[in-house]
């Protein structure tokens, strides 16, 4: 229990620090939010009035307090480019990106686990060279280039799937899945590559252990040893890496969603950054960091439940 309590306390501290970092982003800007809204050539009196209204004349710590207070009550301000409450925008976009991320996680795991096991079982033979080669190529291809290749072949030449766009899964699920297919395959590539490497090395480690030799010695079929015994022990670190890579995935969605015009969190973040819509930048950056942190926390807790050794160390 003390491990969990300590972990939770650290989570809260880091979350607080994340809000501080996010809040400080706007301070690095040349000029301030009032200048951003009104432009650099606006009337000084109007600027001063807006500063007063936004509370920009108050001490930093007070401003931070106000900002946090509003954020905690669900008020993230109004986007400068979309002229809409940010909380409303975020709700829709998070749902879209969740669909994308879940699909790419499934694709990545479905490809990586068999490939990694295949490589490990045939260690140092041609099968391993092929499997490890695919993984190495996967981590070396930039996702936007891989996405463009997919657009070129699957969307333009074969005309199987739409090259870009988005449909809401609530309104039309089949269409939504069709639009999400190419971007999620694009996102899955580098994740698949990392997971293949992880599966391979985890399997190699397990296959070298005594209980595997015992299984073999008592006459168990090789297939049963691999899938029923070895893989079950190798899968934990793979799932951990999959969870940790979610953070990486949330970076990649910015590029991939923009490439496919898939209007999710990544696309929204990109629009905010491109137009220097600071309230929206703060909100999207904060939400993404918080999601990444929470995923890490959940993985830690699940790990503790499944593997008691973590709690004791």
């Amino acid at each position: 229990m003390s491990y969990l309590a300590r972990r939770l306390a650290l989570f809260v501290i880091t979350l607080l620090l994340i809000t501080v970092v996010t809040f400080l982003i706007t301070l690095v800007l040349p000029g301030d939010v009032a200048t951003m809204i009104l432009g650099t050539r606006s009337d000084p009196a109007t600027l001063a009035a807006l500063r007063e209204k936004l509370g920009l004349n108050q001490a930093l710590i007070v401003q931070y307090g106000h900002w946090m207070g509003r954020a905690l009550s669900g008020d993230l301000g109004v986007s400068l480019i979309f002229k809409e409450p940010i909380a409303l925008l975020l709700g829709q976009k998070i749902a879209a990106s969740t669909l994308l991320v879940v699909m790419s996680l499934i694709f990545a795991l479905a490809a990586a686990v068999p490939l990694g096991v295949w490589s490990a079982v045939h260690r140092d033979r041609w099968q391993d060279t092929v499997g490890s080669g695919i993984a190495l190529a996967g981590i070396s291809l930039p996702d936007f280039f891989w996405g463009i290749v997919l657009i070129l072949f699957v969307a333009r030449w074969l005309d199987w799937l739409p090259a870009s766009g988005y449909a809401s899964p609530v309104e039309n699920l089949p269409l939504a899945l069709k639009y999400a297919l190419l971007p999620s395959i694009t996102l899955a590539l580098s994740l698949m590559a990392h997971l293949t490497r992880m599966t391979r090395s985890a399997m190699l480690e397990v296959l070298g252990q005594d209980f595997v030799r015992v299984c073999r010695a008592k006459g168990l079929a090789w297939g049963a040893v691999i899938f029923r015994h070895a893989l079950r022990n190798a899968v934990m670190p793979v799932l951990t890496v999959a969870g940790l890579q979610l953070g990486y995935l949330f970076g990649s969605i910015i590029v991939v969603e923009s490439l496919f015009n898939f209007t999710g969190m990544g696309w929204l973040t990109y629009q905010a950054l491109l137009n220097r819509d600071m309230p929206l930048v703060q909100a999207t950056v904060l939400v993404i960091a918080a999601v990444v942190m929470m995923t890490n926390l959940v993985i830690d807790i699940v790990y503790t439940v499944l593997d008691p050794r973590v709690r004791l160390s």
Binding site: S140, P142, V149, V292
Partner: protein, 274 residues
């Protein structure tokens, strides 16, 4: 040593050597105006004897642009990684060497930065500072530094637990002497491995930032920018995307192969896993 001379090591080493040579020599070997010269009459020509790798939407020769793009990639990626080491190394060594409260405070900071996906952090920094070559280096360097700090801390913790540190301390060596003469030389190997892999990631990051318009700015030849420009001409001129894309893939592949091999050779704890 055996690992470095494996086929993987030789191919990786060769690719990285070619990339480095091209990147360093290209600006001297290719006349400056060659890569930026616009020739509207020769727009979007496919690869041929006259245009080796084809031309882009402004009739510029892709062969010169892709070679000069290597220079941009190398300069930005290596500078960014050097910057991330300059920031991450002292933080990691301080946290690992002094432990206790120093460690707690510094690691909180590092963990906080790690909660932001590196690409998001780099994009945000670049957007806030305004995109330029210098700010791209700053953005990637800062975004990568927490990863460096964490690895350096772990390695420092490993080294200071070894008996020779205790021996040095009992002889009255000062903290700075121990760090300089004993800690730093012993964390160089894992740091080299990490730096190699980081350069690969930094090349990908630079390409990604430029692709999104928040990295290198035109008319500087950059692989990410070239792919960005190719998007409108994919149907009629797919080579404008394939040429820079293959250049990135091959370069990063070489660095990753070299990184794998160096890790096997330099890091005895990882070598067992093959």
């Amino acid at each position: 040593m055996r690992a470095i001379l494996s086929p993987k090591g030789i191919i990786g080493g060769a690719l990285v050597t070619v990339f480095a040579l091209v990147a360093i020599l290209a600006p001297y070997a290719i006349p400056a105006n060659q890569a930026t010269r616009i020739n509207i009459l020769a727009r979007l020509h496919p690869p041929s004897a006259a245009h080796w790798l084809g031309t882009d939407q402004l009739g510029r020769e892709l062969v010169w642009r892709v070679l000069l793009g290597a220079h941009t990639s190398l300069v930005i990626a290596v500078s960014a990684v050097v910057l991330s080491i300059l920031i991450g190394l002292p933080i990691g060594v301080l946290a690992g060497y002094y432990r206790g409260w120093t460690d707690h405070a510094l690691m909180r900071l590092v963990e906080t930065l790690l909660s932001f996906p590196a690409l998001l952090l780099a994009l945000t920094i670049s957007a806030v500072l305004g995109p330029s070559e210098r700010n791209t280096i700053l953005a990637i360097g800062i975004a990568f530094s927490p990863y460096l700090a964490r690895i350096v801390r772990a390695e420092t913790l490993r080294v200071i637990a070894l008996p020779f540190i205790e021996a040095a301390r009992s002889q009255g060596a000062s903290d700075s002497r121990i760090v300089r003469l004993h800690v730093l030389p012993n964390i160089m190997a894992p740091l080299t491995v990490q730096a190699t892999i980081s350069v690969a990631f930094a090349i990908l990051a630079e390409a990604g930032l430029s692709f999104l318009g928040l990295g290198t700015q035109p008319p500087t030849p950059s692989w990410g920018l070239m792919i960005q420009a190719s998007r409108d001409y994919l149907d009629i001129a797919p080579w404008t995307a394939l040429v820079p894309g293959v250049a990135i893939a091959v370069t990063v592949l070489g660095l990753n192969m070299l990184g794998d091999v160096l890790r096997d050779a330099l890091d005895p704890t990882m070598a067992v896993e093959g």
